[in-house]
Amino acid sequence: MLPIVECRLCHHRCRLNEGERGQCRVRINLDGKLYSLVYGKPCSVHIDPIEKKPLYHVLPASASFSLATAGCNLRCKFCQNWQISQSPAEETENIDLPPESVVREALNNQCRSIAYTYSDPVIFYEYMLDTAKLAKQNGLINIFRTAAFIEEEPLLELCPFIQTASVDLKGITEEYYEKMCAARLGPVLQAIKIMHRQGVWLELTNLIVPTWNDKEKDIGDLCRWINDNLGPDVPLHFSRFWPMHQLKSLPPTPEETLTRAREIGLAQGLHYVYVGNIPEHEGNNTYCPKDGKLLIRRVGYSVLENNIIDGRCKFCETNIPGLWT
């Protein structure tokens, strides 16, 4: 009888009999060994502005070579990429793109970074790790766009190769993570702290979903956790929910809710709090935390003005943290 395997990539710790797949749908027990089914087979490949990740403190106005495979280890009811994240690889249109081809295409298209994104790159871990190693050797920045539901050991192996992470901190209660995402909050918070300690540049995103996580207390608790555990310089992006997937009956997040969330974050002492998905909002811009001057003006994903020179405010020379060059 062939042995059971236990995947230790994420905290689901799926135990798989011969032929069984993990909850992510893309890892399988074959002949008593665990295999990825999506190595080198992305189903989404695009060149995006880096601001779309969202990353506002990394290589402004640069292009990011972005890719994803099918599958995901979460089940978020609001997922905007559910067609690929909640599908096995057999149901997506994949292309053959090994790690060396990813790096070559990124360089040929004048991209300065590679983003592992759209679904969740935790589930295509081996592909991401091999590509990230090559990318770093070739002077490219690696962007880990993730919900951070990953075990410590694989995360520690990955950290030396990823310079920046855009992390979804979806809520601040275990109940929210269980009911909305079929995951757990504790491991996510632990992974965020690990990346922070390892020197990975972090930017966090919180999608505000009406009636689910839009209470001022929840937003305040989330901001407080960030300030207490990571410090005031980690950027936080509040993002607007649009009816999607299993939550089509809910309305979009009101603009006032996002504006209020930003006020709460700034009042809690966070220096960089942004509002996404609302064009022309002042929360699209970066301001100096010391003199309040406008540093980076954005409209949508476009940078219209940049007053950061050598990583400092042009006006008062305060250090503005980020990866600016």
Partner: protein, 57 residues
């Protein structure tokens, strides 16, 4: 053959060539639509897992 007939024949040949060219482009697009995508799985042994009696508990 009159000049008028030669011009008409040339114009008809041009139209014929144009249609052949357009059809070739359209055929290629149709062919691409139904060409099989890469359906082979990207099989690679995973990292970070344990087998059988290596598992605790």
């Amino acid at each position: 053959m009159s000049q008028k007939n030669l011009s008409r024949r040339g114009f008809l040949r041009f139209l014929g060539g144009l249609f052949v060219g357009l059809f070739a482009i359209r055929w290629q697009k149709i062919h691409d639509m139904f060409s099989p995508k890469d359906t082979r799985p990207g099989l690679k042994e995973a990292k970070h897992y344990s087998r059988g009696n290596e598992m605790a508990g």
